[in-house]
């Protein structure tokens, strides 16, 4: 097997699906010659031509509208929204149209659409280019929401997302794209990772830590450190698919550990982990030895200055503190 970066794994999933199915095409800003703002689609114009790698004007709302319309009529578009912040510009098409068409039409249509977008902060891109807006889309019935944390998952989850007959919001993390620390063996052949299945990234018996996207990597970092320094063994669960949510994998874990820390990058107020916490309280109260605790972004936009940005977004040390507090340790 060969090692791929997260970015390469995503590209490979798209290439393989496009070779297999001529209905799959890409649409978005600067995705052709330029290869996308983060370089994900580099080389794809050369292989698939501009008929299937469709470069658009800067019109997010129309990109999603066009993709939705073509999905309803038999194509399988992958629309790229350069920064996840700009899904807000396309929100009518995402939330009122793509998400609801099937239901409103009494199940007589389907919208096999994937919206790939780069989320998260840590790049100094400030308030309008760094948000984690997954809760916004996960709230809408009819949408599926996927946030891969590593190359292996990215490829398998993207293949599944393209194969899915529903609109899927596929949120990638900017700090993972070329992250040399997260390179992985990725099978050459195409494979699927089912949507709606979480994954235990590290086993442990002392405490469960559920996280999304880049925060999975940060949680693993904290877990390793605590294991080496204090002998605390954390079980780290990657939620992977926010909707449908695999709550059972978390419930199974707390049966063993009795404690749950939820970690996400978005501001804590109204964040997705509020949903996880509520479901665990409702369904797993008997197994809990302590209330579910969240470590998440501060309740402010993502600031520019590095010192402020690091304060806003949780890092391994804040996660570590959260774990120790939940275990009543220092």
């Amino acid at each position: 097997m060969r090692e791929l970066t997260y970015l390469e794994a995503i590209r490979e999933a798209m290439q393989q699906k496009m070779r297999e199915d001529s209905n799959v095409y890409l649409i978005g800003e600067d995705i052709a010659e330029y290869g996308g703002a983060f370089g994900v689609t580099v080389g794809m114009l050369e292989e698939f031509g501009k008929e299937r790698i469709i470069n658009t004007p800067i019109s997010e709302e129309a990109i999603i509208g066009v993709a939705t319309g073509s999905a309803v009529t038999g194509m399988r578009p992958i629309a790229e929204i350069m920064f996840s912040d700009f899904i807000t510009i396309a929100m009518d098409q995402i939330a009122n149209q793509a998400a609801k068409i099937r239901y409103m039409f009494g199940g007589k249509a389907k919208v096999p659409l994937v919206i790939r977008t780069a989320g998260g902060g840590g790049t100094g891109a400030a308030a309008q280019h760094s948000q984690s807006l997954e809760a916004l889309v996960a709230h809408i019935p009819g949408l599926k929401v996927v946030m891969p944390s590593c190359p292996y998952d990215a490829k398998g989850l993207l293949v599944s997302s393209i194969n899915d007959d529903n609109p899927v919001i596929f949120i990638e993390h900017k700090l993972l794209y070329n992250n040399k620390k997260c390179i992985q063996n990725v099978p050459r052949q195409m494979y699927e990772i089912p949507l709606g299945k979480g994954d235990v990234k590290r086993e442990g018996s002392d405490i469960s830590v559920a996280a999304t996207s880049y925060m999975v990597q940060k949680s693993l970092e904290a877990a390793e450190k605590l294991s080496q320094e204090k002998g605390i063994e954390c079980e780290v669960i990657d939620i992977r698919t926010l909707r449908p949510l695999d709550i059972d994998i978390i419930l199974d874990s707390i049966k063993k550990t009795g404690r749950l820390l939820c970690v996400e990058e978005a501001p804590i107020f109204g964040g997705f982990m509020g949903e996880v916490s509520a479901q665990v309280s409702e369904k797993g109260f008997n197994w809990l030895d302590a209330p579910v605790v969240r470590v998440a972004g501060r309740n402010c936009p993502v600031p520019y200055s590095l010192v402020l940005e690091q304060e806003m977004i949780p890092g391994a040390s804040r996660i570590e503190k959260g774990i120790l507090n939940l275990l009543n340790k220092t």
Partner: protein
Amino acid sequence: MCNDSKAKKPYINIDGYRMEDKFSELDDSIKIEMLRKMYEIRHFENETEQFIIRGMIHGTCHLYIGEEATAVGAIYAINDDDYITSTHRGHGHCIAKGADLNIMMAELLGKKTGYCKGKGGSMHIADVGSGNLGANGVVGGSIGIATGAALTCKMKKNGKIVVCFFGDGAANQGIFHGSINMASIWDLPIIYLCENNVYGMSTSVKEAFNIEKISDRKCAYGIEGLTIDGNNLVEVFNAVSHFTGECRAGRGPVLIESLTYRWMGHSKSDAQVYRTKEEIKQWVERDPIERYKKILIDQKILTEKEDRDLEKEAISQIEEAAKFARESPFPEPSEVEDDVYA
């Protein structure tokens, strides 16, 4: 309306549009100040590039080099208390509107002394006090805000107008249509100034539009508009001046397309695969600063020596700004949740 100018010698622009030569009526000192502003922008951007190269800028920056005449010509044609809205490529507009170079540079380095206390960075510099309603990280994001500012001007009858800067790329956002249509049905005092610098990131206007001139969209809204040479400061100044009176008199809005070119890559990282060195060279030959300088020297408003001194002064001002920025403190982490609400 536009072709019955009473001025003795009209100015005729590249679009064949006749207008008063308001530039010729300016004091020499103002004409020289405009050159100085262009130098300030050019060297501010050069210094910013150095900071980028040295890894001192945490986020990204979009440099305005090559487009200076558009910001300076347009902003000098309006009053100090008129409003502007800017873009992600906003340093030039900000400097032309009179921003303090030290405070701007401090913001780029994420310092507490910056315009946004380090919270905004390059893409969010605003100086509401000076009428600058801000750069904007969202392409097209300021077009509605500018239109709203124009609505305020109309409702308060304060005689102010708005210049809304945006790129060719932004002209394809839905908000362009909704906003200009509203401004036109309500006769708002606003000049929509589209900086057509040939590309929106990697996408050329040829690829993104099926019309020759973006200003032709004026027809869709029943408003005035024209295309100008954005690298000729005199033309930018005259064109914007021509419409300020109309706008103040309640006969706005207007759509001006300013033809210009960005010399540098789109942002921090850009391999520029979408254009040729030859094309860049052709535009560098139409350097707005060189062209304007030549006009001033030819008209004996400025000597070569005075020009060199002017540029030197601008350079030393920028050096001072860079020093101020470097020596300023970072914000305290405890400030992170300040300023979320009023």
